[in-house]
């Protein structure tokens, strides 16, 4: 396909692509996201290729490897069109049967369907599955139907239509529409995107830059990666519209190098868009030019902060600076720079295409649209979920997430990444939007949502985040560099039985200083995990400090392992797995009754291997 020189040529091309596609023809889509990749989707794809080559008599059967469908727990996922039959946990051995039965004869293989966890009913399509039912997948939904490496797939679902529309508008009109839609930054801050665009457009200077922040560093969050991997053109289209509105001719996508597939796919998308005249000089014949480059991150969490990220693009160490002068006035190479997160950019085409009025009907008063969360941790349906703002935590955890595994008790949800906080069970009916999460001491962040159950120790969680933050603090501000370190030390003391009652006050004071005296978002929010867990789980802290016990049985130093002699069958498995020879006794044989096993507390390193090895629940942990 050659260059498209006008919006009319784009429409002609779209009609051409669609005319070649028969929606009634069989099409096999296999999820190729990283989650499914880890569960072996590539072998499934190869098996399909083989069987299609051998058995398909004509070219009637299509095979498409798509981006992430979101339901990572059940991967590899395969959807057979046109009936949209969804098969889960597909193995290469299943492929010949799927092809024979479902693709050729339209029959459903019941054993590969998802069964309802409560009713046991077999559910045939994505729409039937409760995980998808309550979602509103306006940003993420196309991931499952397009091959991210083929621009025609994106064009076929209406891609770049919003760009045509935007190029016919005045830049101020576009900004007005984004402002009216009240699109707020999805990277965590929630700053109104339209306002930022306006400030950047009006800033003095000739050269302006736009940046897409894809340095998704929050552990447990991977929605930005999945968008870049699965639907890179939607992000690009948003950036092109934004650049046109702002008056920028140069942009950057700053993406984590730990996401190789995302780096590759956004690179392919940029090249394809350039070849078709959707990027580069004279976009769609409008006279507007835009170059977009990919910049790979170096694995520093702080580079997700806008000024640090810009320093990194310039080839410097990623240290944030004070923002007395905002980056919209002076950012990259001291020029006005507009930075938005991946998901924010991906919202733009939708707002322009369908209008701010339509968009404004989704969500709550202060937070419009949808948000993609990565729902992970102690939850049955791990995966990416896109929900309208304002949905309750309960609906996300129980209706979409399917509740807690093994019937355990829900304890808390951690939102907002390392800078966020833990929300306890008493607040589970909280509507999720920017402002409500901040009110309860957490934040939206980029959208990680980590579910915790009764076996999660909140002091340990606080220690975990503090360990993360002390490593990732760039060291520029003393309050952050020393504050995170001291808080981590105190939390370590508490989890190892050296806690004192003064520690809680000290933690709160340190948390306050770190928040008040640090420059960037990392430092100002670093104490959230500690302060929110003290606020909601003070009793658990006290249990560690006063009684030297960890109720969730996580903090090693406070545990004792003991063998319950009544339950012990003297099989000897525990002694075999013990790497420090702390378990003594003699295994039972036909001739010999053996000697009951016991653990030498002095030698025991509390690794828990014996607990895992024992099949008779004879190891007691206190």
């Amino acid at each position: 396909m050659g260059r498209l020189n006008s919006p009319q040529e784009l429409e002609k091309y779209r009609a051409e692509v669609l005319s070649k596609r028969d929606p009634n023809q069989p099409l096999i889509t296999v999820c190729g996201g990283t989650g499914c990749h880890a569960s072996g989707c590539h072998a499934v794809v190869d098996a399909f290729k083989k069987v299609i080559q051998e058995k398909a008599k004509e070219d009637g059967v299509g095979l498409r490897v798509t981006g992430c469908h979101g339901f990572c727990e059940r991967g590899p996922l395969v959807v057979i069109h046109p009936k949209k039959v969804m098969y889960q946990r597909v193995k290469p051995e299943d492929v010949p049967a799927i092809f024979e039965e479902t693709v050729l004869n339209g029959k459903i293989i019941e054993t590969l369907l998802y069964d309802h966890p409560v009713t046991g009913e077999k559910l045939a399509t994505e729409e039937d599955v409760p995980f998808y039912k309550k979602q509103m997948r306006i940003i993420f939904g196309n991931n499952g139907s397009i091959d991210p490496t083929r621009i025609e797939d994106y064009v076929a679902v209406g891609g770049y239509r919003a760009l045509s529309k935007a190029l016919a508008m005045k830049p101020e009109q576009i900004i007005g529409e984004v402002k009216k839609a009240n699109l707020r930054g999805r990277g965590g801050g929630g700053f109104p995107a339209g306002l930022k665009w306006e400030q950047c457009r009006n800033a003095p200077g000739k050269t302006r830059y736009i940046v897409c922040n894809a340095d998704e560093g929050d552990p447990g969050a991977y929605m930005d990666r999945s968008l870049l991997e699965g639907n890179p053109h939607s992000v690009l289209e948003g950036m092109i519209i934004g650049a046109f509105a702002i008056g920028s001719n140069e942009g950057y996508v700053y993406v984590r190098n730990e996401y190789p597939l995302a780096v590759e796919n956004i690179g392919i998308a940029i090249r394809q868009a350039g070849e078709m005249g959707l990027l580069g000089k004279n976009i769609l014949g409008s006279g507007f030019d835009l170059e977009i480059k990919v910049s790979r991150g170096g694995g520093a969490f702080v580079c997700g902060e806008s000024t640090a990220l810009m320093a990194s693009i310039e080839g410097n160490v990623g240290e944030p600076r004070a923002k007395h002068i905002h980056t919209v006035i002076s950012g990259l190479w001291d020029c006005p720079t507009n930075l938005n997160n991946v998901e924010t950019w991906a919202n733009v085409p939708l707002i322009i295409d369908r209008g701010a009025d339509w968009y404004g009907r989704i969500g709550t008063e202060g937070s419009k649209g949808t948000k993609i969360f990565s729902l992970v941790g102690k939850v049955n349906n791990t995966g990416l979920v896109e929900v309208p703002m304002g949905i309750s935590l309960r609906e996300i955890v129980y209706d979409i997430g399917g509740g807690i595994p093994e019937g355990k008790k829900f304890k808390a949800v951690q939102t907002g990444g390392p800078s966020g906080g833990c929300i306890p069970e008493s607040l589970i009916d909280l509507p999720v939007d920017f402002d409500r999460l901040t009110e309860v001491g957490s934040m939206m962040g980029s959208g990680g949502m980590i579910v915790m159950d009764e076996n999660t120790c909140m002091v340990d969680v606080a220690k975990y985040f503090m360990n993360f933050l002390k490593d990732e603090s760039c060291g520029k501000c003393t309050s952050c560099r020393e504050g995170t370190k001291r808080m981590h030390e105190i939390l370590t003391d508490i989890t190892e039985g050296r806690g004192t009652t003064d520690h809680l006050d000290l933690l709160e004071e340190l948390g306050w200083v770190t928040r008040e005296a640090s420059l960037c978002g990392l430092g100002t929010t670093a104490s959230n995990p500690v302060l929110s867990t003290i606020r909601y789980f003070r009793d658990e802290y006290k249990e560690h400090i006063i009684n030297k016990k960890c109720p969730a049985k996580v903090c090693r130093a406070l545990l004792t392992y003991r063998i319950v002699s009544e339950a012990c069958t003297r099989c000897g498995r525990c002694a075999k797995t013990c790497s420090v020879e702390a378990i003594s006794g003699k295994a039972k044989t036909k001739k010999d009754q053996g000697i009951p096993f016991k653990i030498d507390e002095e030698k025991c390193i509390r690794c828990g291997m014996c607990f895992e090895a024992c099949k008779f629940k004879a190891i007691d942990v206190q």
């Binding site: 170096g298 990623g318 895992e612």
Partner: protein, 162 residues
Amino acid sequence: MESSQIESILERYGRKESAILAILQDVQAREKYLPKEALEYIGEKLHIPINKIYRIATFYRAFSLTPRGRHEVCVCMGTACHVRGAQRVVDQVNLELGIRPGETTKDKNFTLETVNCLGVCAAGPVVAIDGNYFGKMSPGKVEGTLKKFRSDKKKEGANGKA
């Protein structure tokens, strides 16, 4: 690393000083670490003071200044993996190989690393060895998983119990 190889990397980025991060990433990807001679060469050619290069090389997690083992064992320490017991998995790897995160075994076979999140939370706790994912890990599965990558003839655990 040959100077011609470094030259081709420099050319790829138009010998621009601002591309230093990308240049170092390409050297790291090729050599699995940043050799001192390569850093000195780059500094000289791009007129960047060596202390600035070292500052960058030590600031970003992606870089290593020491040679790496043949196999990289990367234990995910993301929050989702953490609440499912990733710390116990790292401790077990430590016990098996006798190295802590960031270290390499004496026989240069393994390097142990922890990573903040691999984004495969559904399979957590996750260990990636040379880019291959091993999901739903537990301390008990560590020995068997490492076995396939061992170079010593014994192919058994450090504690002598295979």
